[in-house]
Symmetry: C2
Subunit: 189 residues, 2 copies
């Protein structure tokens, strides 16, 4: 259908790294960040994803991103969501995991070895006191000026929203699980 | 960091196709749909993306999805956003393009040849009268029961929201372009 299309490439005069926050209670935050990793591949940009509080429950992106290697790398860390029903791990254990994850994020930033760094579920990790506000601010402060930083998760801190360039809030209007529909592969995990 | 993790795979008792609507004025709608395509790959699910009103301006996902072939296919159709400043094409031409795109969507659905069908920017195509409400309802009605259908774009029609299982509204809290920052590759296109 696009046989007559001549593709035009837009090039910004000034390339600069953006701080993007994706927050809110609706579905699509992690998914949207993954979409940026995929989009980045089209520009031959390297993306690293560090997932906080991910636990051991399989999520399709773990294998999906392998198809994008070596441009996209993903580290999943943690022991699932802290504080939700059924999660047996105490707060200090979640905090220890999140501290390892933010240390990893710092190493990645200092190495400068990616164009897009996604810190998935870092907003709620901060809200749950698994990482500290000063640590997240430090990550933002030391990032190379052309590296994009994507911070996802509900309950984004107002100070982080203030520091960000682009902030989207994803609101739940409806969710299938409220009609007792189980999570579905590809869509929910 | 995940050396001690034993991966658990959740399998829903009942697999069923969901209607997912991603709407709102914020950044992340198309990106979120692309993330589902990537996540689907981890489950070996096939995704087809039909982009409406896309035009000739290069977007990173066009090449990004090639890395996911043959699991993910993408068709970009149209001549850019209808009705926005600087778009020179008349409404009938946009409508003709969108009609071809929805016909293609119908063919894909009837062939049953994917697990996830993404109709990107179809919500605003409907709002702009490039496709008709009955046509979108027909797409929803004839879809095989296990095929997921993702409809993105701002201004989703209330009837479509009503038919959907999961609806997210992405609200713009901030956007870099309001501070005169140009669109950046990987993030904005």
């Amino acid at each position: 259908m696009d046989e007559q299309i001549t593709v035009t490439k837009f090039e910004p005069v000034k390339k600069q790294g953006l701080i993007v926050v994706i927050t809110g209670n609706g579905k699509g935050k992690t998914t949207s960040a993954l979409g940026m990793a995929l989009r980045g591949c089209g520009h031959e940009m390297k993306t690293t994803v560090v997932q906080f509080m991910k636990g051991d429950l399989y999520s399709g992106e773990w294998d999906g991103v392998r198809l994008l290697a070596p441009l996209v790398k993903l580290y999943h860390t943690g022991k699932g969501f802290c504080g939700i029903e059924g999660n047996p791990y105490p707060h200090p254990e979640h905090r220890r995991n999140a501290q390892e994850a933010i240390e990893l994020a710092g190493e990645i930033i200092r190495s400068g070895d990616c164009d897009i760094l996604i810190l998935d579920e870092i907003n709620n990790s901060l809200q749950l006191k698994l990482v500290d506000l000063e640590q997240v601010k430090e990550i933002i402060a030391i990032r190379p000026p052309r590296m994009h930083l994507i911070l996802t998760g509900r309950d984004a801190h107002p100070d982080i929203i203030c520091l960000a360039d682009t902030v989207s809030e994803i609101r739940e209007i409806k969710h299938a699980y409220r009609n007792d529909i189980e999570p579905q592969p590809g869509i929910d995990f």
